[in-house]
Symmetry: D3
Subunit: 293 residues, 6 copies
């Protein structure tokens, strides 16, 4: 269960309102890699986890922190919107292009739908959606997904840092950047411990008997483009990261098979076929079948 | 540019049709971590990349391979659907519960919309969407995203392996499992080389001046749940993975701030406020403003 | 069945084109609470209704009116777009920041996709979708949903009223505001009559035998945040609105249960577990099972 | 900020696994009116609220409770999935139609994507999305939206109650039904107090000067269908619920306007027009303009 | 404006309920090419049209008919659902696999969300969405879009015809098939008249000065796959359909250009670049810029 | 399988960056009728096709070309974004309204998410989705869908041509316009050959026995609006395009049926009904049933 406290983890107040920036900040609230995504991702990973102990405590432990980050951003956005103009009536474009630019650059649903409030959407107004999150039950895969989310998130926050010179906003972003630093380190450490604890290793999932896969292509680099320099990478020769193979480099595929012949489903699907006199014959078939019905 | 060859990288023919399994296989064709996702993800990473050379050749080199995987799965699905029943008319539920189960378990749009053909959707019929992919321009973050995609993908293929005993289908899955093994190794190696080449390091993005973040919380584990065992992890004490900090463990936040007061946007947003005699006063304000207009 | 008449219910012509406002007006055409939503909502409620008579006549009677409102807004939007600029070529940003602001603020799909026409989308260009509507078959719940839709709609129209000073547009909005007034009253009256007619009452659905629910918590206010003032509300003490209970106030939950232990699904799902020597053991299990296959 | 406690508000354990029911239960977890929706809706209403005090404490107070409901349902679903079959391989349809039916009726993504875990989707596998929630800043409208959500939710839980005879599941549903009873009462009481506190009244938004709307149609029932019985409702005669008008009944519209003439946007939008010799003339116009460029 | 009449265009009553078929029928109600799509498509084409007269009367004339088709299908679906089972409680899978198959094959939201009613979704439960429709303002393009919609729709109805032997359902489908026949003919005739009236011709849009396009490739068939038989088609040699060119056949592209060098956006976007000593240099740049701020 | 070559089919470099135009160009990359749509549409048509030979070679032959068009547009967009401003910090709105307009008009996710790179979205930032494509297995219907896609696409490119005066961009658009000309001709020719080859004819699907449809309404124009001029079209009198009927004109429907009575599903769906003393009776029924359980 969750308990709410009417405090924030860090001060979240802008020096001045900025409706255009409010829209941009929505990306790290409700975007693919926003705070709603990590909060929900860690929560579902906890609920679906198949073992108790430090890993489950970990996802629960920081999952609730992330819901607090959602709150900090939503609170900030609402304040950035506090002086959001209603539009061109009294603040006419022709009189003041600055206002016009604000109206052009802000999220109009902030005004029309939310009455100058935050929304569960990204910076283009696309609603947050459940398909943004990952919780497969395999912790190696999921912790790598988490590391990715914290990296993409920190990249976005770093970009947003340069899109404002508001000291209050930057203060909050500096806090979020630090927490993303922590969380990147944390998930990569958790992957290392999964390996050290003998729970998972590469390739993921490590329990699938690798001899069942077509091992002859398990470490081949197959080049399907015409650039030659991929040959220089450690993926094209030398030992593999999982320590189980040796890479080799190949221009194009090392295996091939003819494309199977076209399928011929039931005539009553009304797909086009090339049987001679198709129309008559298929119609006959159909009518035969229809007759039976 | 892309060139198509009417061959497959590997034999992709089932021993017998299985319309229910066709639906399941859609997940790794058109799902969040299906082959369309990785094909498109690597393509966009190539087009957006800011440097030539081995990394760009790498994403182009395997991006085209993945489009070929899309084709192998689509071809397989079409064949699995070749005997898809039309429904209950002649294959009545009451006569044959097996057929009933097939009808219940298959993707009905395979029949009604595609005429026994593959579709760009996941195993629940949700359309593939552009928000499944990641291409940020930051290669460390993106290659971790790629490693995650190949891990989630291999986990799903491994599960699908046990959902059929069709030797032809398993043959194809064994091939895809092997390629996922390759690609997991490859992206993790690429991350190592990015570090070795001095291009990126942790925390990502590594070029953001870390002193600008609130470093006092950059390596703190803050426990927002009541499980105690997260304290035992390498994320709660000892050196951080990025080599730049030392972890510490804390129950709850180490910082806090009061929640800012509620916002008071323009009265013409018609949000509810608690000013005394609100209705009259705000109405007055509104009318004043309206009067001016 | 439906019949169309090439007339509008009210004059719907702007004094002058305004492509930015056209975008904003899309919200009440194709947004979550736009006219398409109420038109479709009332139609589906009619088709799904389980009783003839005044309630069904009511939803059919105003459902068709709402399709006419869709038309009035689409017509208005097309006219607002009549002089939509194509872009920066001849109307260069550097020469005229007003035009630049228009280009920045308008819906670019209005121009590129619809050729200066209306679209079934909201003010951020998100397509209208079927999940915006509600038609459960339970009329009390659905009429409250309808009242909500008319309230949210009227709030949005009121905001839009202040975002333009075009007398023609305001004239149309003044008409829509009046109809929303009617419809708010109407749905709340319909709820009252459902109660008076003995068809439904609180709590909804009223036919579910209330003794089957855990009645000890049916009227408890449980405070999961740390604000104290919710205690002052009529939901924290005194008789309940449904007349069937007496409210009480509690800090946090009055019941609790331990979280159940983690689940242990089939090993072939390849989730991570903490069995000692997991990799070997599970691999053994898997291979046993694979052996059998 | 939010804190997590590894306890549930109520026991959430099924008597036995049931993968088909797990799918159905997703509706009240991740559907339009599921627990994610109300948890997020109340949270955003709190963050966007323009006044402190009992109403803000209220939305925060029960918002956190709803996140706990999400957790209870996710936990239940994971347990219902604990014995989810992988599919037809060993549990062949022809041998056991019961298993076949389970495979047909369960959410295949529960197995393939989540490894027998819960997901943020509805019972058809549609991802939860931000557009399911409402937080307009106008509390009357939003509390009615909340009442609707609790009504739709309780209707759905009541239906789900009859779709299982598992005592453990029913125990949880009985608890949720009781909380929905509380929350329906609570939101309707909150509406009454908003009125009593002089903050909002009908029609919503109450601060918009009603004389600005076209009051002649503010209380007219306009019948756009041919059913006659809507005339018998309290919306067709007598005083209105808001106490500000008197209803009247009319067959069809009481106002009408001719449809405005078709629009004629810039020729370079390449829409079709009926000017004589259009092709030549427009081409001429276009070329004139092109010439200028 | 629209008027509703409580009659159907054709009898729409099944001989017996069939909840599985109800789900299938949703495809032609709320799918990509369902009746909502054509109803909305023709309506938006009418509202966006730039000329009065026979074409506008045409889209309005049949647009309203299509809303009536939506109603016929929704009515049919509600009746097919009239005996929809609630689930496995009393109709246990183990006792009656037929019921199990029904539960597995039906749309569970029909039961849980709509209480045995129709919904604005397709046969997989994906909500209808605005992006299913087309209304560009160019009538040639749009009428071809309409012809396509009527063709896809008739193909789907024909398939559905064979998925039931219910005479009542087939009676309705036979009616819809006939109307689709009419509408296919109608839109193709309308295209012919657009040409005859001198309003539009090939290539669409016909008013764009064709000399502005790179006419050397306007009629070349470029083969990007390795199949040879496309050479035999009328698109590879001989006069073009638009009468303005002569086709020629080419293996692969007839033009090519080197891929431009990678882009180098602002360092503060934190994309990865290959400048020597990148980290230090870019960090320097960033700090320079930060210093200025 | 697919092979990539690091060349473009045509030069794709702008004369100068233009972040606002980059956003507009996304429409023809990732919109409903963008290049991703046609590339995927032709690919799926190939994989689902039921006959070998010229038609399959055709869809494969140009399908790969379209993936190359995706690449050309993505490359162009990345270059247009090369100087994308980060925002208002140093390029303050008040100092330079031109920059403000750029910030307002560009896709902010281009900056925040993609780091000045292209994305698989349309010009409003809506992700590309699988439901944009059509591949039914019926080639007549699908080739008409293809013709439509090429027409809508060419209309959009023509509009975009006028939204820039950048010679480099226009050069690329001139190339795409020419290819769209080719592809329009090609698909319409393919339809003619399908007819000539006796594979498909009108009405589509041609194999469905037309006598099974309600032929009395197969060629009737039914006018559901009040415009009279549709009577003048070739769809209202004279022979039909398919050569199988004679059109006639009718005001309104020529058939009608009473609306069936409301449905009465199981009481445990908790829909509202009008049985006398409903609450008591249904509650009784429910309790009876509950008792049995």
């Amino acid at each position: 269960m969750y308990f709410h406290k009417q405090e924030l983890q860090f001060k979240s107040t802008p020096d001045k309102p900025d409706a255009v920036y409010a829209r941009k900040l929505q990306e790290v609230l409700g975007g693919q890699y926003g705070e709603i995504s990590v909060a929900m991702q860690y929560a579902f990973q906890g609920w679906n986890m198949h073992l108790p102990g430090k890993y489950r405590d970990l996802v629960f432990g920081i999952g609730a922190e992330e819901f607090g980050h959602v709150e900090m951003l939503a609170t900030m956005i609402a304040q950035l919107l506090e002086k959001a103009p209603l539009g061109i009536t009294e603040d006419a474009v022709q009189d003041d292009p600055t206002v016009a630019a604000v109206v052009g650059g802000m999220d109009v649903q902030h005004a029309i739908v939310a009455g100058a409030g935050a929304r569960p959407v990204d910076s283009n107004g696309n609603p947050w959606q459940g398909s943004f999150i990952t919780a497969s039950g395999n912790l190696y895969a999921d912790f790598i997904a988490n590391a990715n989310a914290e990296m993409q998130g920190r990249v976005q926050v770093a970009r947003l840092y340069h899109m404002t010179d508001d000291a209050g906003v930057r203060d909050l972003l500096a806090f979020l950047l630090a927490r993303d630093t922590m969380h990147q380190n944390q998930w990569l450490r958790a992957v290392e411990e999964l390996k050290a604890d003998g729970l998972e290793s590469l390739p993921v999932p490590s329990n699938f008997p690798q001899k069942k896969e077509h091992t002859e292509v398990s470490y081949q680099y197959l080049n399907f483009s015409d650039g030659q320099q991929a040959k220089d990478g450690g993926w094209a020769s030398g030992p593999s990261v999982d320590g189980k193979g040796e890479h080799s480099y190949h221009e194009g595929p090392t295996t091939s098979a003819p494309m199977p012949p076209p399928t011929r489903p039931d005539a009553r699907y009304y797909g086009t076929t090339d049987l001679p006199n198709t129309v008559e014959k298929i119609a006959g078939t159909v009518q035969d079948k229809l007759h039976r019905e």
